[in-house]
Every structure is written in C-alpha cells, then in structure tokens.
Symmetry: C2
Subunit: 475 residues, 2 copies
C-alpha cells in the first residue's frame, strides 16, 4: 500500500473516532511532511484523497479542515435593503432580560460576547502593573482626568495600528469609555436626529438602541455571511444620497464573524471617499483574526479622513477597564469636543496600565494564544451543534473572534427558544435583537469564548434539545 493511502487511512480513522473532530484544522502540507518525514507530494495526495471521500475540505487561504456535518451559511437571508424601522419597546425590554440573567452566577451564559475568567487575560501581569503604578505614583489618582490621556498608550495604539495597515498619529487617537462610547461619539459627530444610517444586517445588537436614542433611522444593508456588506447595494444607497453615515464591521463581523476581502475593503474606502459619507468602522475584533497574516482595516485605505475607526481593549486584555479608542479622521476635532462635553476623559490609572502592558511586549504572544484558543473553540462548538441541534441548522464559518451565528429551521422561533432556555437558566441571544425587522426570528447568536467545561456543554446540548422539541411541537 502506498504511503499516501496509509496516511489518508490513518487520518480517516482519526476523523471517524473524533480524535480529529469536525471543523478542526489539519496540519499544513509542509508541517505534516516535516513531522512524518514524508514528501510534499505524498501528503498532498493523501489530503486530495480525503477531500474526494468528502471527509475534509479546503478553505481558501486557510488550509484543510475536517468537514463538519454542520452546513455553512452561504447566503444572506435577503438581498434587498431592509425597511427603516424603529426599535420596538419589546426588543429593548429583551436586552434588559438578557442583562439581568448575565448578572446571575446560577445562569449558564452562552450569550455574552466577552470571555470571563483569568485564563483569557493577562490579569496577573495587569494587576502587578496597576499595583506598581498605585504604589509609585499615587498622585495619579489625585489628578483630574483630562484629555487626551497618557501619551504612552496613544503611541502604542498608533504603533499597533501598523499591523492592521493603518498609519495613525498618537495625537489623533482619542481615548473613549470602551468602543461603545466611540460608536456613540462618532454617530453624534456626523449625524443629525432624523438622519438615516446604513448598517449591516444582521449587526451588533446594541447599535439599534444607540441609533434609536439619537433619533437616527437604520437602513439595513444585506450582509453576506462570508463576504460581508453588499457594496452594490451600498453604492446604490450612496448614489441616491440616502445615508448620512455607515456603521460597519468589515474585519471580523459581529455576529457573522466574516471579513470582507481586501478588494472589497479598498472599494468601500473608495466609495465613502467618492460620496463623502463618513464610515464608522468598528474594528473591535480585528486583532482576533484567525489567519496569521492580518487583513488590514478599511481605515488603512482611507485617503482623506472619511473613515472613523473605533476599537478597544475590552475583548482582549481587560474587560473591566473599558479603555477604548478611536481615530476620527476629518472629524477629530468635533469628536474631541463631544468627548469632553459628554464624559471628559478616561482614568489615567487604567490607560497607563494598558499602555505599560503594551509597551512591555507580551500582547502579540497573548493575541496568538487567544486566536488559537477561539479558533479551536469555535470549531468544537460548530461540531457539537451539528450533533445536537435540529437537522437543517446552519452556522457561520468565522474568520476570527468567538461568535457563531446560527440559522435554525424556519419554524423555530428563537424568541420562544430564548424564554424556554431562560427558564432552565441558560442565556442565549435571540436573532430579533440583530435587526430592526423581524427577519432573524429563527436565528440566534452563540458565544464560544467561555470555558467549554461540562456546564457549558450541558447547556449547549440542552439548548439543542429545546430547539428540537420546539420543532417537533410545531411540526
């Protein structure tokens, strides 16, 4: 028997025994060849054989993966722009219910888009840095926090921006109270009440209450679960002058996990330049891309300041600190004024702690750990969903982050499922929160950033059962 068949059989057996679970990535051809002392050709032939047998699949620029029995989302739900709709009071109340359950330690949280626990953050090192600042510079606490905040952090943010293709100047960085305040200030800087803002569909659930609170209307633009925002639809809307601003997550979207291609990002930057409409780029998850070579932000292609980029260290370093930032392009002075008249500045203690951590150089190592961990956890959860959830369930194939967006069979109402799960102390995010319309009522968002311990797995399995029960009762 030839070497490549032996290798293929060995891998097939590992897949059958779930030693290599659905969704997991195989070693690259180069790695596998080196590890086993085989030639490239042998490994390539083995992988092709497994691909032919339907056991693995190649994903562009990412490598070979064990095929999951969970189909990937391939199409956006609708191709036409959505209606302009206000946020319903019921939806607003739903957010409050989710938040309440997330405060309760007896609830298992499959919803919160933020890892909890010391394993996910360099908390010990941050604690040491903060304690040293408190010890050596107690006068920091005795000074009024004034903008623009510590130069060290703003320099580090600018330096790190290079990895995402951005040339930012430290003096243009504005520290904010998390990325949420950055979005809030950006919208207030470039819109008037009554304006219409273009948003991805689905989009970050908390964007809807924010838009509603500012008297802004949302126009939902179809967003492909793998390719992102439909630029054709966007261009039509821009040409018709229907948008005062656009909010988008072109790099690791929440909840879809997708990233736009480089060409699409360039086109998006060109569109907002051409039509002179500000793009508020939410880059919160951009540092959590799974691919080793990071795709740049749209801001990287911004020629004349129409892109306002927002991010924070909430998801990767210190969720409690709420240190966010933005670079507001041509709207910098306006945003600086708004920040001062809205909440003055950020605590120097926290900003300086993060600045010193970034300067000390452990952040890249930490990010690599997170990317590997989340990529693996997302794969594991995808695979478990394929086993436990109703047939016909589809899920996104995230390019980064830790979120999965699920489409369940159309007769399942995830708001009903949400309440059924809540009664069993399991928290999920129902799809209705991700749109101003009701189009995602059979969808839900799961978060794969928590420890996949017995409790998490039991909750996930039970959620699948509840979904199947609902499907059966409605059939």
């Amino acid at each position: 028997m030839s070497l490549y068949r032996l290798l293929a059989d060995e891998l097939a057996q590992a897949i059958a025994q779930r030693t290599l679970p659905g969704g997991s990535r195989l070693s690259s051809v180069r790695q596998c060849a080196a590890q086993r002392g085989l030639s490239f050709n042998t490994v390539t032939a083995a992988y092709r054989l497994l691909e032919d047998r339907g056991l693995i699949e190649a994903r562009p620029q990412s490598g070979y993966y064990v095929k999951s029995s969970l189909p990937a989302l391939q199409q956006p739900l609708r191709e036409t722009p959505g209606d302009v709709l206000a946020l319903s009071a019921a939806t607003q109340d739903l957010v409050a219910v989710v938040l309440q359950s997330q405060q309760r330690p007896d609830y298992t949280d499959l919803a919160l888009a933020c890892p909890r626990g010391a394993a996910f953050y360099p908390s010990q090192k941050l604690a040491r840095l903060a304690a040293r600042i408190l010890r050596q510079q107690p006068q920091l606490m005795a000074s009024y926090a004034l903008p623009p905040g510590p130069e060290r952090l703003r320099s580090q943010i600018a330096r790190r921006g290079l990895q995402l293709g951005m040339s930012l100047r430290p003096e243009d960085i504005i520290l904010t109270h998390g990325a949420m305040e950055a979005l809030q200030l950006a919208l207030r800087a470039v819109t008037q009440p009554g304006d219409t803002v273009g948003v991805e569909s689905p989009t970050y659930f908390n964007l809807y209450p924010l838009l509603a609170s500012l008297g802004l209307k949302a126009l939902e633009i179809p967003t492909h679960p793998q390719h992102g925002l439909s630029l054709d639809v966007l261009e039509l809307l821009l040409a018709e002058k229907r948008l005062a601003a656009i909010v988008a997550m072109p790099t690791v979207h929440n909840p879809l996990g997708c990233s736009m291609s480089l060409a699409d990002k360039q086109r998006l930057a060109h569109l907002v330049h051409h039509y002179q409409v500000p793009l508020i780029e939410d880059a919160l998850y951009a540092e959590l891309q799974f691919a080793a070579a990071l795709s740049p932000t749209v801001k990287a292609f911004d020629r004349d300041g129409w892109v306002m980029v927002c991010a924070s260290y909430t998801k990767t370093l210190a969720p409690d600190f709420r240190i966010g930032w933005m670079e507001a392009g041509r709207f910098g002075e306006r945003v600086r004024q708004l920040k001062f008249a809205s909440s003055i500045a950020e605590p120097v203690l926290l900003a300086e702690t993060i600045g010193q951590f970034l300067e000390s150089g452990g952040y890249d190592h930490h990010l690599r750990m997170l990317r590997r961990l989340y990529a693996s956890q997302v794969d594991t959860v995808r695979d478990l969903i394929a086993r436990w959830f109703p047939a016909g369930t589809r899920a996104t194939l995230p390019s980064g982050g830790f979120l999965l967006w699920l489409e369940l069979p159309e007769n399942i109402d995830t708001q009903v499922l949400f309440h059924a799960a809540l009664a069993e102390r399991i928290t999920i995010m129902p799809g209705v929160l991700y749109s101003g319309s009701a189009r995602y009522r059979h969808c839900l968002r799961l978060s794969c950033c928590h420890a996949l311990d017995e409790r998490f797995l039991a909750a996930l399995r039970r959620l699948g059962e509840l979904a199947r029960l609902q499907q059966e009762s409605s059939a």
Copy 2:
C-alpha cells in the same frame, strides 16, 4: 479697662497686622470664651464692638468673620431671562485653549475646578484598597463590566444620601462616568433636539457645549449670587410651557458658590412637581458645604420623581476614577437603557475601591478636613484679591466648594485678560464661558482649591496687575 474692650483691642490689632486676615473666621463665642477663661457675655460684647467698628461681620449660621475690603456680589447682573443663544465656535475653541494649557506643568492653573495633589485626597488609602482588590480578586479585571455595578458602592451612596435629606434606594442608583455623563444621560432622557432647557446664569461652562451637541437651546434664568435661581422667573417660564427641563445647582453653585434657602428648595421641588417638568439637579459640590449642618438637596423634597440628582466622587475622593452616579426618579429605566447603549458600565475595580473606602468610614472625617481647608483658602484668596485687583472688583461669598466668581470693573474684558495671562503661563476661566450671551465679559472664575504656595500667589498677584494694567490702558 473692661475685659471686653481689652479683647476687642487685641483682636483689632491682629486684624490690622493681618495676623487675622480679611475673610478669616473668628473663633465662635463659645470657643473663645473657653480658650481665654472669659464669660460668654464678655466675648459677645467684644465681638459686637468690633462689628460696630466695621472690622468684623456676622454671617448667618456661619459665625463672625474679619471684614474683607472686597465687596460681596449682592445682585445678579440682570433680572430678566436671557436670550436663547447657541454656543459660538469661538467659545468652543476657548475651552480647547484652556484645556491645552492645563496639560502643561509650566503653566500655573488658577482655573481648574479640581484640586491636584495628594494632600487633597486619601490617595494612599485608596491605592492600598485598589492594590488589595487587584491582589485578592484579579478575576475582577477579567470580567466584562456590566450594569448596575457593585452593590457595596450603590448602598453607600444611598446611605450617604441621608445626610443630604435624600431617601434613595441602592437599586435606583445608576453609576456613570463622572457627573458629566450623568448630566448628558439625564438631558438625553428627558429632551428632544430643538427643546429649550432652563439654566442658571451664570452656569457650569461645560453645560453649554453639552446642550449644543444635543441640539438643545439654553434659556438663561437670573441667578442671585447669594440666593440662587430666581424662582419667580422660573415659574413664569414653566407656566408658559417654555422649558422641557431645568438644570440647576441649588446647593453650592458653580461658579457662584451660593446655595438656595430651604424654603426656596421646597418651592423648586413643588414647581417641578406642579408643572411636571424634570429638574436635573447637579449636586456635585453638595458635600462641600461649609456649614456644619448640611442643607438638603432639592431631591430631598421630590415627591414623585421629577428630580434627577447627579453627583460624583471626582471632586472629593478620586478625580482620576471618574466614578459618578445619578438617581433619575421617574426616568430611571430610560436612563439605564441610555447608559447601556452609550457606554455600557463603569469599571468594577474603581467602583469597588470607592465602595470599600466609603464603607471603611473615613469619608466624613476627610470631608470635614476639605471643608475647613477650602473655607480658609477661599477667604485667603478673597482677601488677596481685595489687595491686588482693581478697585471696584467684587466677588462671591461661597457657601461651600472652592470657587470664586469675580466681577471686575466693566471696562475690563476678561477674554483679553485671559490671553494676557496665558502669555505669562497663567490659566484662568473667562466669564464669557459661563453664559450663552456676552453678559459676563468682565467676569472670571478663580479656583481656590490648589495649594496656595508661592507660585499660586505670584500668579494671582500678577493677574491682578494685568487687570489693573488693562483698566489703566482703557481709561
């Protein structure tokens, strides 16, 4: 010679030699009698004699003070409500210039309304508490900050509210990013763009940019430098339904330092109840009243939730932490939603540090120290102004806090003075910032919360010289 005349002469000599400078408080009759082994009657007779000679003055509920040669502000500048005016771009730029100079250690700051330096705060104790939390609970940093924030701090805020006459429930306390964000959220909760908001005249300078950013118009209501907001004018405006909300500082006003009488506070609470218009009560300085018996807030008389009270620990405990709070009365749920959709929550590390400090019981002692210190510093600065500033200068007689509002002779333009002082690296706040109109162009605000060291005194003296030079050149 009788005992009371001997005592009076001794004190008169001390006043002449400035051992007892203008504005300083005499010992109470009881203290003086005890210290010197004299009877109450003897001391009282001596004080009356000094009062007859015009050397000291009695201030209601506060005691006897050495008369300053600086006349007190007795009248508001105008009695009619001000025009509705937008914030000028020039004024907005002025704020930026002030802020820039406040970043520079080579500038002497007579402007910033926040003490700088470890002497003014229990920074060592706060640093120890924060360091202990970091050491014992590093997982706090590894949790996403979610509302409503630590119960300990909210309970302490409610408990301390009793001292200002307020019965607050911990579950109704909303933590905010300083009092500035509390004002921002309160205004967004109860107004629509285009609405008119009643404000005191003068008022906190940063309120104007905030109102402008929310598309709100300000209507200036005359505010007496000793008695506060004109309730007669307010009632007229309320009866004519011209106000969507009122923002006021009835207890230790910024910049005037005045507090409304108890009867006026009750009437104000009654007015907003009767006309059903929300009052946003800025109680930022209420804990810094000089009188030992604290006057209650207007919130203390709020029967049905029309008063939204805002405050913070920025001025008294930890300026860098930016931990503020509000109780929004009948608008609580709306404010909670706005907070989450605007900036999510406050860092637990900082909120818990302040909660533990308050629980440990040193805050009242600390506040007593601050009140004594600021009362004395305000008096000292008043006296120096009388010596160094142009004849005709008048100043407020603050009931608390550390701010002085000055009216210079009408031919002095304090914006010109501001730039002249800035050229000599001295920062002040010109009066134009405190109104939407130009009525305070000969006024300025000074801050007496900094260490009155040689550098501060030299800057103050130079400011007086610059004012006199301007007066001479314009005469």
